[in-house]
């Protein structure tokens, strides 16, 4: 067993009166890939946002490298070593590819190692090097996702959070991006990812959490979990016969 890098302990999060997370606990070990799966509105993004400091928990603690970081603003969690690749990529459209990457190394510590980071990222995503003087709004969706990942890596994170990594991308591109995620992890960066594509995340992860209605329903190593267990946790009570609101069977993608 490796050392724990992130520990979320009994966290509740509210949006006004609406309770989005109920008593959520999570443990992420160093240098692993952990994925959180769940249907739309299960609270996955809220959980990532809480870890990154975008949302403040109303109860419970978030600890990163043994330090309590709940209530810390997002621009400070980056300094601690957490980087979030947000849902929908959110690259800066009126900045060039290179400028987007440079903004990724905004923190003083990252700024000193900017060149080194840039060459690593260009090696990981050669397309970004080719397009570095282009406005990021002119990139394709997949390229924008690569840029968003590259931008997040520019801060030299120890933990990188991916929110809906494959959303809106072509299968070929998704496959390519997951290879890169693996590579990032091999380089020693801990990965926590949120995904609707269950097969994809089961394959990539060392450990899986299944969320439903703001609660963790199931956790474990992917090879130890049965399809039925996952299906039941994903859909909640009523399990086997229930359907995803989208009408798709999540296990088949």
């Amino acid at each position: 067993m490796g050392k724990s890098i992130l520990r979320v302990d009994k966290v509740d999060v509210h949006y006004g009166d609406f309770r989005a997370l109920w008593d959520v606990s999570l443990d992420v070990e160093e240098a692993q890939v952990v994925s959180i799966i769940g249907a739309n509105g299960a609270g996955k993004s809220t959980l990532l946002n809480t870890i990154a400091g975008v949302k403040k928990p109303s109860r419970g603690t978030v600890q990163f490298k043994g330090k309590t970081i709940n209530g810390v603003a997002p621009y400070q969690t980056v300094v601690e070593g957490i980087s979030l690749v947000p849902e929908g990529r959110r690259v800066f459209p009126r900045l060039t590819v290179l400028e987007n990457l440079e903004i990724g190394s905004y923190t003083p510590k990252a700024r000193r190692r900017k060149r080194e980071a840039l060459s690593k990222i260009y090696e990981l995503f050669p397309i970004l090097d080719e397009r570095k003087y282009q406005l990021s709004s002119t990139l394709s969706g997949g390229e924008q996702q690569m840029l968003a990942i590259g931008r997040a890596l520019m801060s030299w994170p120890q933990l990188i959070l991916f929110d809906e990594l494959s959303l809106g991308l072509a299968p070929v591109v998704i496959k390519q991006i997951y290879q890169k995620v693996k590579q990032i992890n091999v380089d020693g960066i801990t990965v926590l990812l949120v995904e609707q594509d269950i097969q994809r995340s089961l394959k990539a992860a060392h450990k899986v959490y299944v969320m439903q209605s703001g609660r963790i329903r199931l956790e474990g190593r992917p090879e130890t979990l049965s399809q039925e267990e996952i299906r039941e946790a994903y859909f909640g009570l009523g399990g086997l016969n229930a359907k995803d609101p989208s009408g798709k069977d999540p296990l088949k993608g």
């Binding site: 990154a52 621009y75 947000p86 800066f92 009126r94 400028e99 990252a110």
Partner: protein
């Protein structure tokens, strides 16, 4: 026909040069609207405050008004930072009204403060340039002060645009104006960035104020006049680029002086606003806006 054209060359020339001054008056307001999404109703008063600061330094040091910029720019920079960091930032949120009211209150306070300190007398920043004209090719005469306005404004805008593309702070300001939430994830504290942006807007107001003071007379209550000009520049030029704002200024200046040439001096302001209405009707986002 030829004589009409010949008569036009002076208003066109002067309109363009005056437009440069309008551009620098509008640039600070355009920046704050684009970046912080606040309509800074006190922008005109900041410009006039800078005119008075320069006026004070002139009476102490007795140098050329342009030299007072060495002190007026840092002073206005600091004032801008403080206004944003300690006043406007506190009321920023989903509702656009509170920052608007803060700016409006600031405008009233500044005007009355200036009135208390400097009395309602007309002032001007005296310089030899004010009365000099530059004959060009024997058929055109340019007021030197207009030329100085234009050149200083243009240089300022070129420097600003370098700042926004070459420095970390400049890029961070642009990033925050593109997507505040994503910028925060990169380690950028938006509140601090906004304060820097207002500081820079204050710096441009300093330059605008000194140029305005050299070119025209000013009173404690002149601020709103320049606020309206700044509004006009922002509407015509649109948000998104510094150069667009500058061009917006040129068009407004041109419209005013060419209009005055044909319709009489009383129509100078109104012909500017007619152009403004036309732009609003045809391209409400401004002529040079991006996206």
């Amino acid at each position: 026909m030829l004589s009409v054209l010949a008569g036009l060359k002076n208003p066109i020339m002067n309109g363009l040069l005056l437009g440069g001054l309008y551009g620098i008056v509008g640039i600070g307001m355009s920046m704050i609207f684009g970046i912080v999404r606040v309509v800074n109703l006190a922008h005109g008063d900041l410009v006039i405050l800078a005119s008075y600061l320069s006026f004070v330094m002139l009476s102490i040091f007795g140098v050329s008004p342009l030299l007072t910029l060495v002190l007026v720019i840092p002073a206005m920079f600091l004032i801008g930072f403080i206004i944003q960091y300690y006043l406007v930032n506190r009321v920023l949120g989903k509702d656009m009204n509170p920052p608007l009211l803060v700016a409006f209150g600031l405008s009233i306070i500044l005007q009355n403060l200036l009135l208390l300190i400097f009395t309602p007398d007309a002032r001007t920043l005296l310089t030899d340039l004010s009365i000099a004209t530059l004959p060009v090719g024997g058929f055109l005469s340019i007021p030197v002060v207009y030329l100085v306005d234009f050149v200083v404004a243009l240089v300022t805008i070129l420097l600003l645009s370098r700042f926004f593309t070459r420095t970390y702070l400049g890029k961070a300001i642009r990033a925050a104006s593109d997507d505040e939430g994503a910028a925060e994830l990169m380690g950028i504290n938006p509140k601090r960035i906004y304060a820097w942006a207002m500081a820079i807007a204050g710096g441009t107001a300093a330059i605008a104020g000194v140029l305005v003071g050299m070119t025209f007379t000013f009173y404690p209550h002149t601020g709103p006049d320049y606020l309206i000009i700044a509004f006009g520049v922002v509407i015509v030029g649109g948000l998104g680029s510094l150069l667009g704002t500058f061009l917006g200024g040129l068009i407004l200046g041109l419209a005013q002086l060419v209009g005055a040439h044909f319709l009489g001096p009383g129509f100078q302001l109104i012909s500017g606003y007619i152009i403004l209405l036309i732009v609003l009707a045809l391209k409400p986002t401004g002529l040079f806006s991006k996206g």
